[in-house]
Symmetry: D2
Subunit: 259 residues, 4 copies
């Protein structure tokens, strides 16, 4: 069974996208990346020190041939800033994919819907493969699809909060909205493997996470747990779960009950 | 890392206990059992046709050397019936472990607390390794431990309901109650891999399920998903998840924000 | 519409039962009791200083003709202790109703199912009107009904925790179990008016609470809020709520949409 | 205690806003409006038959001096349509308040964020008192406040779904966002009095509902229940609820425990 995730012209076996921020050190980061078996690494362009190539850089430690890089525009508060950061990324030759982050508020780090849509429209026109980080508003997802986004990345809850999926109902509306059009990657707020499984069982095409791994007591073991949770949730979704019932449903035939 | 589940004198690598009821046919059952990598199979003694050994029997299809059998007393509505069924199981030479099921109600299939405790007391005295299926009442779990139960098996929700963990709070109280004494196996009501992960992340030592696999559209694939979910949840628990926060927690350093 | 709560031989207009512990002072307690419009006051017999009638007593401040007293056996850890305390209450002439509390654990204050059932059996035989505080185990509720309990009082969550209804599903099973037999009073763990409304909308016959009022910043105002929540939830239950739907249901006719 | 709801230049004692669609008949509607003690009635302008004043009209039955009318733009799918409908309402002389509804999808009836913001900007400039029906996206709420909206009306769940508050976490972010600026009226999706109490306890300034009353088995009794739930939730919020705790908190002093 070839169960492939397609984003734009790219194809992936893994459905786990991993961020590279906040690991205790570069060794642990590398081991966690390995354990996760991710194929897509995301990072803030602002951390690349593009203007100062002499500085040490987390990317140097990774075998870049093994990964597709998904730079993000973290730090942008307007569409214009996001576009400017995206162009920097492209100019560096690292990747033509870009995760749009236009943050509206420093406390919740929730995405600004207006700026996100505008940046998506602009970057699609410039030829990027655009993956916007967005709220869980299904109507905004529709606008982003119409603007040409190549994937929709709704937040489960605030970045790094570990709150999991606050509104699975609207996330499932977004999944319906995107079906047959573009993949849905649940992004932000995931705290544990169970959250990942819930997301995949809703029918999401993938999950992006960072803090849940980097901030765990044992990041490498958690990275492996997340890899397994992605697979468990995906296979569980494909396998077709049992319906929920108010009352019980005996697994042992009742006609054999002791009389 | 040897992460071993111990029940009485037994030791297991796998933390998934699989029931054998309601599979579409014996071939699918066998493949699902293989895919699950379970080491413990549970089944209703009443289904064994012990009195009529000429009848075909699901156990014949399995390589019994690979599995520890955990017969259950399904069908019993009183402690005395459960004890009688348990003795039948022992007499058959299959196993000295017994899962006590004393069902109080045919609609919810919830366990009868009084009969469950009484049967546990009686069977412990007769030398069984006793695993009672019980409600999620932490105080009843304490009585069962005092009675000598070798594991506590609280239901997540009604058997076969697929409702998942209705009361994770009290399940975690039971896990606290049992810590350092006996393992906790979440039993009944699990519907999907995410439910399994939630149970393991609470700190449960294992999960027993049946309908969630046997009743899935693709039972073999679901068995594999459950195996992965057990591992994901267990590793996630050991790895130590991030705390939950009301607001966000940036994964990219904010001091690098575009000014 | 006479919507009467019947417990044993008693009848009440109000469905709110109020505990009398932990109020900041007796003035506030009295005002809160007034604002709640409760007709049933519960209190720990141990607080009555029955052995030392010279001590000041919270009951002295209340016009006892206006209330039915529901003494409880708080402090009992065995059935025998509960029975002894209940007899003290009866001997004082205050009331023939008794709320059975047999606590199994000092950290969770959850009721001991075995001791609770035993105390209920004993006190019913002695002619008390018995209201056992119990877990949310529907099978234990059945045993308590069979033992002759005059109401079932399942906890919503641990006493004073404010966690609300941890398991509304099993509470609704208890309500089904008791229907046409005895009233169900949700007892313990309620934190806010919304919790009260949820309980009443499940079909509970009443709610007993204490800390949620006594521990509020403004206990008197909270008492009034709880009174209103009881009425709101009860009327909402009787009025018959709309079903839940996955998608929307226009309140304005769609045929009048602008074309 | 004068606890006043202010919207633009208006002041209200009641915090319940009631819609007028889908009642079984005009008699029941009138009785339900009376029982609710609402001061604000909302209705779709398209239902007014403004072009055909000979048609019977639900407003004729109401004593319009008692109510502030809040016409809505139901049926609009673009900002321009909403503005056109709002002007019709103003021209009729009924009110200078307008509830902006720009619906993006006929199945979920979720509001279109882009059209809603645009219509709000346009109508504020034309001097309306503008109350936009919006998603639960806190960043969109911020844009709407900046555009001059006089209240924010986030949906709890899809219109008429009865699902209650799908994402109380983000609704509470919106309430924080609006604090000291404009009131927050939870609008759409409420199913029962408990939902109303939850909304008010979050700190919402009011709740607008329609189907939950009009579609109840007894709409008049449900209207009364909703009135009580608004008061219960509001008073509960002002009174200051107890904190939630993992374990118990005895309401009877433990030092009086039986030794």
């Amino acid at each position: 069974m070839a169960d492939i995730l397609k984003i734009g012209s790219y194809q992936f076996q893994s459905r786990l996208l991993l961020g590279t921020g906040k690991f205790p050190d570069l060794d642990i980061q590398q081991q966690a990346v390995d354990a996760s078996e991710t194929e897509i690494l995301t990072f803030a362009i602002r951390r690349l020190n593009i203007d100062n190539p002499d500085n040490p850089n987390f990317l140097e430690r990774l075998d870049l041939k093994k990964y597709t890089l998904l730079p993000n525009t973290a730090g942008a508060q307007t569409a214009e800033e996001a576009v400017r950061i995206a162009r920097l990324a492209k100019a560096s030759g690292l990747c033509d994919m870009i995760k749009v982050e236009v943050i509206g508020d420093m406390r919740t780090l929730l995405p600004d819907p207006i700026g996100t849509l505008k940046a998506t429209e602009m970057l699609v026109k410039e030829g990027f493969i655009v993956l916007p980080y967005t709220s869980d508003d299904p109507m905004l997802a529709r606008h982003l699809i119409e603007a040409g986004a190549h994937a929709i990345m709704p937040g489960a809850s605030p970045i790094g909060s570990g709150l999991g999926l606050l509104n699975p109902h609207y996330l499932s509306f977004i999944i319906e909205e995107c079906e047959g059009k573009v993949p849905v990657i649940i992004d932000a707020g995931v705290g544990s493997p169970a959250d990942v499984a819930v997301a995949m069982e809703l029918g999401a095409d993938g999950v992006l996470l960072n803090t849940a791994v980097a901030g765990a007591k044992d990041p490498v073991l958690m990275a492996e747990a997340m890899k397994l949770a992605i697979q468990a949730g995906r296979k569980g979704y494909v396998a077709g779960r049992i319906p929920k019932k108010r009352y019980a449903n005996a697994s042992s035939p009742m006609e054999m009950m002791i009389e």
